[in-house]
Structures are given as structure tokens and as C-alpha cells.
């Protein structure tokens, strides 16, 4: 019994921390730089697929089979996602907020289309199987492997967290924050806003790609349905609940929202009659959606975030 709880906890934490990674990436893009990325799922997908392609065993119907070590896969994932972000960013960094949102949404849709249809690269709708686990040959039991994975993920999230914290407190980070407050002033200082934004966008995306890789190697396979808009929504909810602009908020938000998500899933499974079980997942989304709306209305700064300032020119209604 305790063993079951422990096993579940390990599983829960691995997934929650993977989400936390994606959330940290989004926080750099949105919380610190004000970039409205509605295509999170796409970037996570790029990372997941890249690592899978680089490390999975050969398959005659699909490109790959290079069977690189996992670490190399993860590095490749981050780099590939960074490259995609750079390409996207060069085109979109000057767009205004809502156009950026629509564009990043379009990117994610396009990436999903490519993942589903470029069968020779991505395995199509069936995806890629046999994505290897680290230390798979060293540890025998499934639980043991999960625990090892958890340790790896904790270390990784810790490292990324520390790195991002360093980054935002560095001179580079200060410029970024200055840009968010007053773009004209920053530009007057000779700093090109677009360049800084592009850098933040790319680094944030790389972290998201890493999250994708971490997910892929935990679950053992990737398929297009793992990277739907709901993933984007989950990560955004986590960031809003935790508090944007705050790395601690990103991690806390991921843990809290994933806990709520899992709990609601369990509750629905218990309540719903058997015939409706399959549809229950849909109801989870409704609940979480309502929850997000509630947070936005009642406490927009989230659990850890700073007080937001209402626009001084709000028209009285």
C-alpha cells in the first residue's frame, strides 16, 4: 500500500517537474520578456521528437536509427528547438502581442501537422517507440528506474532553475526587465529590443524543448496527440496560478496545477459511470478552464507573483 503511494508519488513528481521545466521556459518568454507564446506545445514537441529521433533504435520506415546516447539526445533537443525558435523569432519578434499569439499558435498547429504527416521523419500518427531510458541496463525494477529518473529530473530542474535565476539577475536580465517596463528608454540606451527579445524567446524555447525530451524518455514514446493545445493551456495555467515573472512561481504553479489535475482526474474516474469514463478527460479540461478563469478574476498575480499595476488610463465604466 505504502509502496503504491510511493510509486505514484514518484510518477507524479517526474511529470510535474517536467511541466515545471516547460513552465520555466514560458516564464522567461512571458514573465520576464512579455512575449505571448500560445504555441508552447509545438516547441515541446520539437524537443521530444528530436531526442526521440536521435536516440531511438533504427526503424526501416523512418529516418534516424543513429541511437545516440541520451545526453546527446537531450542536447540535440534543446538545440533543435532553439533553432526553430530562432527561425520563428526572426520573423515574429517585432509583431505586436496579439499577432505574436496568433503566429505562435499557428506554429504549433503547423508543427503538429508536420508531426502527423511527415511519416518518414516522425513516424506519423503512430509516432516513435522505443525511446530509451537512462540507466535502463543498470537498474532492474520499474520503480527503481522511476526513482532514478526522478533524481535526474530534480537535478536537471534545479540546474535550469539556478541558471535562469542567474540569467535574469545578470546585466542581460536587467536590460530585459528594463525593456518590459519602458521600451523607448531601453532603445535610447542603444539596446536593440528585438535582439534581446529574440534571445529570451530562443532560450525559453530551448528549455521547453528540453522538457519535451525529458517527457519522451520517461514515457518511452512520442506521438502527435501528446502535444495538443491542451498542453499549451496546462503550462499557461501553471504559470498564471504560480505567478508569472517569478521562477519560483513557475515551479510551484506546475506542482499545484498538476496536483489539481491528477486529483480531479481521480475524482472523475471515481464519480463517473463506466460508460462515460473515456469522456471524463474532457470534463477535466472544463474544470481546469473554469479554475483558470477564477484565478484570473480573483487573484491575477497568482500564488507567488508580484502585484500588477492597472493601466492608468483605464476608462471608468
Amino acid at each position: 500500500m505504502i509502496g503504491d503511494v510511493f510509486a505514484y508519488l514518484v510518477f507524479f513528481l517526474v511529470i510535474a517537474l517536467t511541466y515545471a521545466l516547460a513552465c520555466l521556459g514560458l516564464n522567461l518568454q512571458w514573465g520576464f520578456t512579455g512575449l505571448f507564446n500560445v504555441g508552447v506545445a509545438g516547441f515541446v514537441a520539437v524537443g521530444a521528437y528530436t531526442s526521440a529521433i536521435l536516440t531511438a533504435p533504427a526503424n526501416p520506415e523512418r529516418l534516424g536509427g543513429v541511437a545516440w546516447p541520451i545526453a546527446a539526445g537531450w542536447v540535440g533537443a534543446a538545440l533543435a528547438t532553439g533553432a526553430v525558435a530562432l527561425g520563428v523569432g526572426l520573423v515574429t519578434m517585432r509583431f505586436r502581442h496579439d499577432y505574436l499569439a496568433i503566429s505562435t499558435f499557428g506554429i504549433a498547429v503547423t508543427i503538429q501537422l508536420l508531426a502527423t504527416n511527415l511519416v518518414g521523419l516522425t513516424g506519423g500518427p503512430f509516432g516513435i517507440h522505443g525511446v530509451p531510458r537512462p540507466f535502463a541496463d543498470v537498474v532492474a525494477s520499474p520503480l527503481g528506474r522511476n526513482v532514478v529518473y526522478l533524481v535526474v529530473v530534480v537535478v536537471l530542474v534545479g540546474a535550469v532553475y539556478a541558471g535562469l535565476e542567474r540569467l535574469v539577475r545578470s546585466p542581460w536580465g536587467r536590460v530585459l526587465r528594463g525593456l518590459r517596463e519602458d521600451e523607448a528608454a531601453a532603445a535610447a540606451l542603444g539596446k536593440s529590443p528585438a535582439t534581446f527579445r529574440l534571445q529570451a524567446f530562443t532560450i525559453g524555447a530551448m528549455v521547453m524543448g528540453l522538457a519535451g525530451a525529458v517527457y519522451a524518455h520517461f514515457v518511452g514514446f512520442v506521438a502527435p496527440e501528446d502535444f495538443l493545445p491542451i498542453l499549451t493551456f496546462q503550462v499557461w495555467t501553471m504559470l498564471v496560478v504560480g505567478g508569472a515573472g517569478n521562477n519560483r512561481g513557475a515551479v510551484v504553479g506546475a506542482l499545484v496545477v498538476w496536483a489539481l489535475w491528477s486529483a480531479s482526474g481521480g475524482a472523475l474516474a471515481a464519480i463517473l459511470p463506466h460508460a462515460l469514463q473515456a469522456r471524463g478527460a474532457a470534463l477535466q479540461t472544463v474544470l481546469i478552464g473554469a479554475g483558470l478563469a477564477a484565478v484570473l478574476l480573483v487573484r491575477p498575480r497568482g500564488l507567488c507573483g508580484e502585484e500588477t499595476v492597472v493601466s492608468p488610463h483605464a476608462v471608468a465604466e
Partner: protein, 255 residues
């Protein structure tokens, strides 16, 4: 020194069309720009609202029209408390504001503007009101099919003013109508204001151009840093050393 200088004119209640009492207003709660202003404007009077940049003149009239949130204080229209009413409702109650900037819809024709303003008027009066306004602004009648964006700055001001006059307001608030206009056009605007007053409209005129404002106003008041410092008949204020001192004495650049 400070305080009110009242010369002629009784500042007690009743007959005033527009009454403002201890008004505190600003865009952000806790950061008021208007800090407790009280004034009264009699029927058919033109009151000039003067003061240096940043004094809060614009904010005051915008607050009266409810575009800026009121923190405390009251606004009374012919004795009726209208403080809580939303901006669009005030128009139907008889308050019109001509803002300083963005005061026309650039994609809509002159005709559209007047038709839109006429929606606040009773159906059977609409045609008459629009015709009356065209009489006051014959140039606009000739340009009625033109989009406001195609008109010159002076003509746009006329459209903005005409639009505000369609519902025959009791009180007309103007935020620097002469800003950016050549002297000839300033004269034209002021002439329209005199016409409006002749029709019984009460006017509050915010102006940086003190001379022009006092030329047409009955009374004037000087606002400095959100507070009224001087209220007097226009003739008393023109060339008044006290006024000049109030302008120069404030921390903003004076005119």
C-alpha cells in the same frame, strides 16, 4: 497669497446649472490629479478653466463627463446628483464633452457623426436638431459626405463641436478647443461658442490660451496642482498679475 479671490458673483447653490463639490479624481485610485475642486457655473455662463500644464484642468472636465474615475465628491446638474451616472448616460442628461484629442471618428463621415449623436435625442426631434446644427456650421453642411479623417484640423474641431451640440446639451465642456489651430480658426471656434451661449448652453472652457479664453468667457478660474486658486470675473483676470504669478509659480513650465 492663495485662497479664492471672488469679485462679483455669488457662489452659493440653487441657480447653478453645473455644480462640482469637493471633487477628487484621477486615473489611479490614491493618486488624484484633481484634489478637491468646488465650483458652480450658472445657466448660460461661459467659465474659463485656466492654469499651467499638468494642473488637472483636462482631468477635471473629463471627470465631470465620467471618463476619469471620481474618487470622492459630487457633480450636480441643475441640483440633481449625477456623480454615479456613466458617461453615455450623462450625454442624455445634457452634458457634452469635446475632448482635446481623438475627438472625431476618422473613418466616419460628418453626416455619420451627427446621425450618431442624434441617437441620444428623441426620434421626432432628430431631424430638426441636425438641421439646427448644420445652420450653425454651414461649412460642415457642404462637407457632410466627407470622412472626418479627410478634413483639416480646424474642420475636425468643428465636427467635434457640432457633434456635441446635436443633443442640445445644457452643459458643454470643451478641452482646449483651440489647441494647434491658427488664430483665425480660434476666432471661428469662439464665435460658435458665443452662438451656443446665445442658445442657452452653459459652457466650461479649458484653455491654455488665456487671452482667447478670457475674451469670450464671463468668469474664469485658475487651477494649480489640482486645486482652485482663483475665481473671478473674466475682466478682472485679464492681465491680472496674480494669475501670471500662479502660472509662473507652479513647478511646470508656464505659458
Amino acid at each position: 497669497m492663495g485662497g479664492h479671490l471672488t469679485v462679483g458673483g455669488d457662489l452659493t447653490v440653487t441657480s447653478a446649472t453645473l455644480t462640482v463639490r469637493d471633487l477628487v479624481a484621477g486615473y489611479e485610485r490614491g493618486l488624484p490629479i484633481v484634489r478637491g475642486v468646488s465650483l458652480e457655473v450658472a445657466r448660460g455662463e461661459i467659465l474659463a478653466l485656466l492654469g499651467p500644464n499638468g494642473a488637472g484642468k483636462s482631468t477635471l472636465v473629463r471627470a465631470i463627463a465620467r471618463l476619469v474615475p471620481i474618487e470622492s465628491g459630487r457633480v450636480l446638474l441643475d441640483g440633481v446628483d449625477v456623480t454615479a451616472r456613466p458617461a453615455h448616460r450623462l450625454v442624455r442628461d445634457g452634458v457634452g464633452l469635446v475632448p482635446q484629442t481623438e475627438n472625431v471618428f476618422t473613418h466616419m463621415t460628418v453626416e455619420d457623426h451627427l446621425a450618431l449623436a442624434a441617437a441620444a435625442v428623441e426620434r421626432k426631434e432628430r431631424r430638426a436638431r441636425i438641421a439646427a446644427v448644420y445652420e450653425l456650421f454651414p461649412d460642415l453642411a457642404a462637407q457632410r459626405r466627407l470622412a472626418a479623417g479627410r478634413l483639416s484640423g480646424g474642420q475636425r474641431q468643428m465636427v467635434a463641436l457640432a457633434r456635441a451640440l446635436v443633443p442640445a446639451p445644457r452643459v458643454l465642456l470643451l478641452d482646449e478647443p483651440s489647441a494647434g489651430l491658427a488664430p483665425r480658426l480660434v476666432e471661428a471656434i469662439l464665435a460658435r461658442l458665443r452662438d451656443a451661449r446665445a442658445l442657452g448652453v452653459t459652457i466650461v472652457l479649458v484653455e491654455q490660451n488665456t487671452r482667447a479664453a478670457l475674451a469670450v468667457a464671463d468668469r474664469g478660474c485658475v487651477l494649480v496642482e489640482g486645486r482652485l486658486r482663483l475665481v473671478a470675473a473674466a475682466s478682472e483676470l485679464a492681465g491680472n498679475a496674480e494669475v501670471a504669478r500662479l502660472y509662473l509659480g507652479s513647478s511646470e513650465a508656464a505659458r
